[in-house]
Symmetry: C2
Subunit: 302 residues, 2 copies
């Protein structure tokens, strides 16, 4: 096996993913576990890290470890304060936090904060590394990158700079409406996303109404049997994702880098296509590894 | 006591309100109970009606009974199918359902459905009677009437016609975001609405951003301590109500009839004022009684 030079770790809310990289940044070994920070008890980070990550560097215990994600939040191992955006790779690297621990040489990439002209402050933690991985790796050197999910992130990048970003609560809104609102009555517990109903949701979103009003249309679609109940989650999903994509790409964007996989990628690709935006699919693992590698090089850890 | 001529009943989701009216439509007696249709078991409507309402007409058992509200829904006593909107008092009266029961002469006012140009079907049940009461009573003979709440209703009226209406899930959105979303972390269980934070929410709404994005600003306001935690519900409420009021009054409306009381009325008055819309406060009891009275007269029940 080639020599390991960096243990790159993406430690988020729900999972931990570790990649042992060689001196070219290529993956030698990988390990993942459902041990996100939500599962870690207070004071338990060192133990979880030792169990999940140390085995990867057992033969080279001096290998530097660089982490990104919610592990650097106030609820994480140690807080790496937000760096303000616009920012660039070198400034972000300056904000990297050295973790006080003896188990390994561990650093954490900080998140970013951004204040829009509306006064709203937005934050990102973990995705900034993926975004840099996507832009530094020339996949998307200039433009818009989307990381969809519970809290979707849309970032404007230019080379190794992150200019601005916005969070949309799309995935979470889908879950709380589906489970806790008037819409939940009559909806199946779980259902695959029906593509025709999803398209109808996109069409509804394209009308540009207020979401506070339009979501009630999912209830009346049940009441008037516009769709069978098992199709209603698809209609709701299309309405929400359509609202997000339309708003995020409103400024004449025609191409987006999409860091997603599986059905999430399918849904966002369909929504982008509906609104005339071309998608370039980016692998989450590839851009995470590339981003941590770029920060590690900037810090001369590797 | 003057002779009773109508028992007017507003039987909604969470409460039952009964008004015994004299031959001029004035209230002789009133009774209310937290016996909304949510509390009524299947097949239990006759029993609840007999316990809660019959005592009011014990001395005049032939008094006609006219009801409005969710009692006429699919989950209610008997379903009074929706009448399509635009509609007028006489057409609505034609849709009144005679309840099959021996305990009294009971009829139920139907709800309304309305299909907007976007294709979305909207529904109301109960508010149509209040709206007619407000317009028939000359309080608002032409214009926009708002019935705020869990599901806020905004209705365009013209004399005894209801032209169009829209539902906004504002109150419900406030509850599910506050209780079940990422925003709930750090928020107090219950808190009075802080008026300065509410105003800040209105200001944020006025920027016209996407709600899916802007609601995340409540989370970051906690993270960056923009407000003390006890003020965050006020900020969220201002953001949501501001979004609703701005969208509902966007077509150059300068005056709104507001059927609300207490803190809900205060919040909507503040939001309307912020967006340059004058409010006329209308009593819920007055417009409900006037609406049921107008329908009863149209049907020559009185």
């Amino acid at each position: 096996m080639r020599d390991p030079s960096l243990l790159a770790v993406d430690w988020g809310t729900s999972s931990l993913r570790a990649y042992l990289l060689d001196e070219t940044g290529a993956v030698l070994k990988r390990h993942s576990a459902p041990m996100g920070i939500r599962s870690v008890v207070a004071g338990g980070y060192e133990t979880v890290f030792s169990e999940q990550c140390l085995p990867l560097i057992a033969e080279a215990p001096d290998t530097p470890v660089l982490m990104c994600g919610m592990v650097g939040s106030r609820q994480g191992w140690q807080e790496a304060p937000y760096v303000t955006c616009p920012t660039s790779l070198d400034v972000l690297a300056d904000g990297v936090l050295r973790v006080r621990t003896e188990v390994a040489r561990i650093s954490i990439v900080p998140g970013l904060s951004y204040q829009a002209s509306s006064g709203m402050i937005d934050v990102i933690r973990g995705e900034e590394t993926q975004i840099l991985g996507a832009s530094a790796g020339d996949a998307i050197s200039k433009g818009l990158i989307c990381v969809p999910g519970t809290h979707s992130k849309w970032c404007h990048v230019s080379g190794e700079r992150i200019e601005a970003f916005s969070t949309y609560l799309t995935g979470e809104m889908f879950e709380i409406l589906r489970k806790h609102s008037v819409i939940s009555q009559g909806l199946p517990e779980a259902a695959a996303i029906d593509s025709a109903a999803f398209l109808a949701g996109l069409e509804r979103a394209a009308q540009g109404g207020s979401l506070l009003h339009e979501v009630f249309g999912v209830r009346t679609a049940w009441l008037f049997e516009t769709f069978p109940p098992e199709c209603l989650p698809g209609f709701l999903s299309g309405l929400l994702i359509g609202t997000e994509v339309q708003h995020a790409t409103v400024q004449g964007v025609d191409r987006v880098g999409l860091i997603a996989s599986g059905s999430t990628a399918d849904n966002y690709r369909a929504a982008c296509s509906y609104f005339g935006v071309e998608c370039e699919a980016l692998s989450s693992e590839n851009v995470t590894v590339a981003g941590l590698w770029a920060v590690a090089r900037q810090l001369t850890l590797v």
